[in-house]
């Protein structure tokens, strides 16, 4: 197999990730279509290459741990764009808080209701409930309340991708034209991956989205045990 010819697999994994993402960026630039999302195209290409070469997905994941270590520092750096927009954030804080609060309640209520409607069992319901918040919080909440952490990880990523992919379309659909409401919608609905999109749209949207994901995460930590009582 080709895998035998690639002893430097961790470097190969990194190069594959960067190459696949670059192709995604190129597709996005060429087509300007929201479907051509660099994260999605990148991940799809990685999966295709792994399947074709027979490289174990575990090996690939291990090779990219260096990148995953950067996630915490990168998230922390969202403080810089937030600091630049501090005045606007302070001015709009009440509206942002109310919007995030409404969104967080909606998320918990809708997921709870749909799980009931579709008669999904408790384990799955608890795993799906934290889907709109950042992975590190969501996985812990899910596990502590009897959910499956890895399923939560999956749905959180999928939710993020939906937000990143459809964010601009949703903004048009719901006529969200100002950067503050856009930021709240992206950050509350799809956490860090939505925030990555918000920073591309507008610096203020990015800052608002960062703040929203922090507030949504903390609100969910507080509300989660209550909702779990009913599941």
């Amino acid at each position: 197999m080709m895998a035998d010819f690639l002893p430097g697999l961790s470097l190969f994994s990194l190069a594959l990730t960067f190459g696949a993402f670059q192709v995604g960026l190129w597709c996005q630039k060429k087509t300007r279509s929201p479907i051509c999302n660099p994260i999605l195209i990148g991940a799809a290409l990685v999966i295709i290459v792994l399947l074709l070469t027979g490289i174990d997905p575990e090996t690939y994941t291990e090779g990219t741990t260096g990148l995953s270590w950067l996630l915490t520092p990168a998230t922390i750096c969202l403080a810089v764009p937030m600091h630049r927009q501090l005045k606007a954030l302070k001015k709009n804080l009440p509206a942002i808080f109310v919007g995030v609060f409404a969104g967080t309640i909606t998320s918990l209520a809708v997921v709870f209701g749909l799980c009931r409607l579709l008669t999904l069992d408790r384990t799955i319901a608890v795993s799906l409930l934290p889907k709109s918040i950042t992975t590190a919080i969501g996985m812990v909440l899910s596990e502590e309340n009897g959910g499956i952490a890895s399923l939560t990880n999956v749905v959180i990523l999928l939710t993020g991708i939906i937000g990143n992919l459809m964010g601009t379309t949703f903004c048009k659909l719901f006529r969200l034209s100002d950067p503050v409401s856009r930021g709240v919608a992206l950050g509350t609905a799809s956490h860090l991956i939505g925030t990555a999109k918000a920073t591309e749209i507008d610096p203020l949207s990015g800052a608002v989205s960062s703040l929203s994901l922090v507030i949504a995460g903390i609100l969910t930590v507080l509300l989660f045990p209550l909702v779990c009582n009913f599941v």
Binding site: T17, F21, P38, I39, G42, A43, V46, I47, L50, Y60, T64, L67, S68, L70, T72, P73, A74, T75, I76, C77, A79, V80, P81, M82, H83, L86, A95, I96, V98, G99, G103, T106, S107, L114, L118, I124, L128, K131, A136, I137, L151, V154, V155, L157, L158, T159, I162, G163, F170, F174, V180, S181, V184, A185, A189, S190, L192, V214, G217, V221
Partner: protein, 120 residues
Amino acid sequence: MKYISQMLYILLFSLLGEFLQTVIPLPIPAAIYGLVLLLIALSTGLLKEEKIAETAGFLVSAMPILFVAPVAKLLQFWGIIGPNVVAICVVMAVSSVLVFAVAGLVTKCCLRKKEDKNDG
């Protein structure tokens, strides 16, 4: 080499976040503590933005690529998703649209009310 010292500051705040995460018994990740601490340090002038600006800008703009590997990893979780794939997709899609709409529109309404007040 300003990038080295800039990265060092960012790593120090990450470490502070990790420390708080282990000390405070809440399911809040190190990144959130670190973000709040860095924001406080920047807004109080304890740390000047120039001390981290370029590296922070690079890390924020490079964030999307950090999600490629986790999303590709979904392949390994097919066993969990597979049997419930339709139900999970329905829950994901419906709730994503609704949360997006409610969060955005409620914020928009609040902003508009505030503007009306200011005008009147």
